[in-house]
């Protein structure tokens, strides 16, 4: 059942993405001041939203683990965080490439960029922590705490461009920045396949967590002999 769901979602994402890419590259006009590079926004922003959704889901799941002590929540949090990290990396790198053309630099220690990088490093620390602790209950409890604390950075990333004067453009979604309706529509339309891809990767990663738990159980059985 899960394999079928993964297959259907992957196909849906691929078809939608192919259609969107054609519109983005062939139909939408260049943005007046930025030129073709502006189109990177249709990936840069949705991958960031997907990463934030996954980090939020990981935090909720971590709270649920601490309350209910059910390892399925721990597996979900681990899977969501890892997939979120991949999307976060895509966001940081596409932003750097955009910055090289528009700002003339690859990187600046601006509040938005820095808070995103700090968030990414904290979540990478979460993954490293999980590898460092062997005992499953201790690993799940410690990483749940880290996941909850790490999420504190996400609102900072989100609101940084409002709270501080930044080089990063003002938000186009919650005020300040302007995006014409055609671009606006495309931004949300392209978020759908990217979010679907996130769900597919999450399902695949969760299956591995499940296999990991089976391995833990088999190891205990082997050592019990």
């Amino acid at each position: 059942m899960r394999d079928k769901t993964i297959m259907v979602l992957s196909l849906l994402a691929a078809v939608m993405f192919a259609g969107n890419l054609a519109i983005i590259l062939l139909v939408l006009p260049d943005e007046v001041s930025q030129g073709p590079i502006f189109r990177i926004i249709f990936f840069h922003v949705p991958v960031a939203w997907t990463a934030f959704v996954l980090f939020f889901a990981a935090m909720i799941s971590s709270i649920l683990f601490l309350v209910r002590k059910d390892f399925k929540y721990d597996s979900f949090a681990a899977a969501a965080t890892e997939v979120g990290l991949a999307f976060g990396a895509a966001n940081l790198l596409t932003g750097m490439i955009w910055g090289r053309i528009i700002w003339g630099i690859w990187w600046t220690w601006d509040a938005r960029l820095t808070s995103m990088l700090v968030g990414w490093i904290i979540y990478a620390g979460y993954v490293m922590l999980r590898r460092a602790i062997e005992e499953p209950t201790e690993r799940a409890r410690m990483s749940a705490v880290v996941s909850i604390l790490a999420f504190a950075d996400v609102p900072i990333i989100f609101w940084s461009i409002k709270w501080w004067r930044t080089q990063h453009p003002q938000p186009v979604v919650y005020g300040g920045g302007f995006l014409s309706p055609g671009y606006w529509y495309m931004l949300f339309l392209n978020w759908i396949p990217i979010l679907l891809l996130g769900v597919v990767l999450l399902l695949l990663r969760m299956r591995q967590e499940q296999t990991g738990r089976e391995i833990d159980a088999l190891r205990r059985e082997v050592h019990a002999f």
């Binding site: 007046v32 030129g35 990936f43 999307f87 090289r100 053309i101 591995q208 391995i215 088999l218």
Partner: protein, 65 residues
């Protein structure tokens, strides 16, 4: 067509080309990152399967307790 776009955007042809090349790099990078993650997942899947197989064989070899 490209000449018209270049004129509209106020870019020199060289700037416009460079701008487009960086858009390509951006899209390529985004997909390469996600592809690298998928490759990582596939490698881990193989490792987990072989580990589970190894443990099962180990248990079978030992027979019932």
């Amino acid at each position: 067509m490209i000449a018209m776009l270049v004129q509209t955007a106020g870019f020199t042809p060289e700037q416009y080309k460079n701008n487009f090349v960086f858009l390509f790099y951006g899209l390529l990078t985004a997909w390469l990152v996600l592809l690298a993650f998928v490759v990582l997942l596939a490698a881990r899947e193989r490792k987990l399967k072989s580990e589970i197989e190894r443990l099962r064989l180990m248990l079978e070899d030992r027979g019932p307790r």
